[in-house]
Symmetry: C2
Subunit: 198 residues, 2 copies
């Protein structure tokens, strides 16, 4: 009997993100096919990624037939910027960008930053919303370095690789330790366990 390939929709308008996620998915050889869908879900202003993701997930539910997930990520400069830009990372990146983030830091060695990602999955076989989180800590680079990745990658130095910014890592290297990579691993384990019901 031929194994049937199910569809799983990743709701995003960001092709960089889709590519990162696709790279990881391919390694798992699960019995479904990942598809990009751009639906412009409603994003609320909230203090946590979880709230934004939950609202987003529900805002598109009626438009899709099947299982799907959305991903939300934020870049938080915990010290000295009190978590800015946080949930508004993409807006802040578009308006003032990395050069201005650097301008706001005096002491780079002691700066603290993290990326967080949340994946919100609507799992149709069990009519359930599920959340998978990933996080990576590090600090701010005093210079913009590297051309890989996107967004704040060139100013973020992860604890795990204290000589390089995310912008200097390949997609594969980054996926192994990144917030998104970690959240996706959890999603993958879940899907593996439930692949019979999927």
């Amino acid at each position: 009997m031929k194994k049937k390939n199910h569809l799983l929709f990743f709701i995003t308008g960001n092709t960089h993100k889709f590519d990162e996620v696709q790279t990881i998915f391919k390694n798992y050889h699960l019995n479904y096919k990942l598809k990009q869908m751009d639906l412009n879900p409603i994003e609320i202003q909230a203090d946590s990624l979880q709230k934004v993701a939950e609202y987003k997930l529900n805002s598109v539910k009626s438009k899709i037939d099947g299982s799907f997930f959305i991903e939300d990520a934020g870049f938080f400069v915990d010290y000295p910027l009190n978590g800015f830009p946080g949930v508004y990372s993409s807006y802040v990146f578009k308006t003032i960008g990395n050069k201005n983030i650097i301008r706001l830091i005096d002491d780079f060695e002691n700066s603290k930053a993290h990326f967080s990602a949340i994946i919100a999955l609507y799992f149709e076989p069990e009519d359930q919303d599920l959340f998978f989180k990933g996080m990576i800590e590090g600090r701010i680079s005093s210079k913009i370095r590297g051309t890989e990745g996107f967004g704040y990658d060139p100013v973020f130095i992860p604890k795990e690789m204290p000589r390089k910014t995310f912008g200097e890592l390949s997609i594969d290297q980054k996926n192994k330790i990144s917030h998104r990579g970690r959240a996706l691993e959890k999603l993958m384990s879940f899907l593996k366990k439930h692949s019979s019901s999927f």
Copy 2:
């Protein structure tokens, strides 16, 4: 016959804003009473104040009996910050504040900024949503000056009074030229014209 005082609700959690608005309302002697109501309407992430206000208005409609309005304002540093912090002004203020806005500017004389306000009114007698806008242009002060007002007031120098920041003006002085004052004036004229149906 005694004139009946109707209620008009201003949906806000910001007591500073309520006080500013109350001051203006009192000057108009209309036949209604302003009441503050804090309902935490849903704020979406959008590129324009109008979209945020529209969604906000509709998100609380079912919870109020009567006419009500919400107000939304943003501070936009058009040059050199491409409109940042814009619709996310209150979050940016809470996290990085005025001292960091100043850090991002080199040439204060040539900086360009504006405040925008939008008032979204649900007018019950005609079951209608109405929008009233106000704007004021100016530039960024190289120093934080003044203790009046709130938020970005101490770093904003209006064109109309090029020696003072909003933080150095009294509520009355500020209301005469401010974005919020201008939007409110339009609301007042509307209410005056329609006070018979109100």
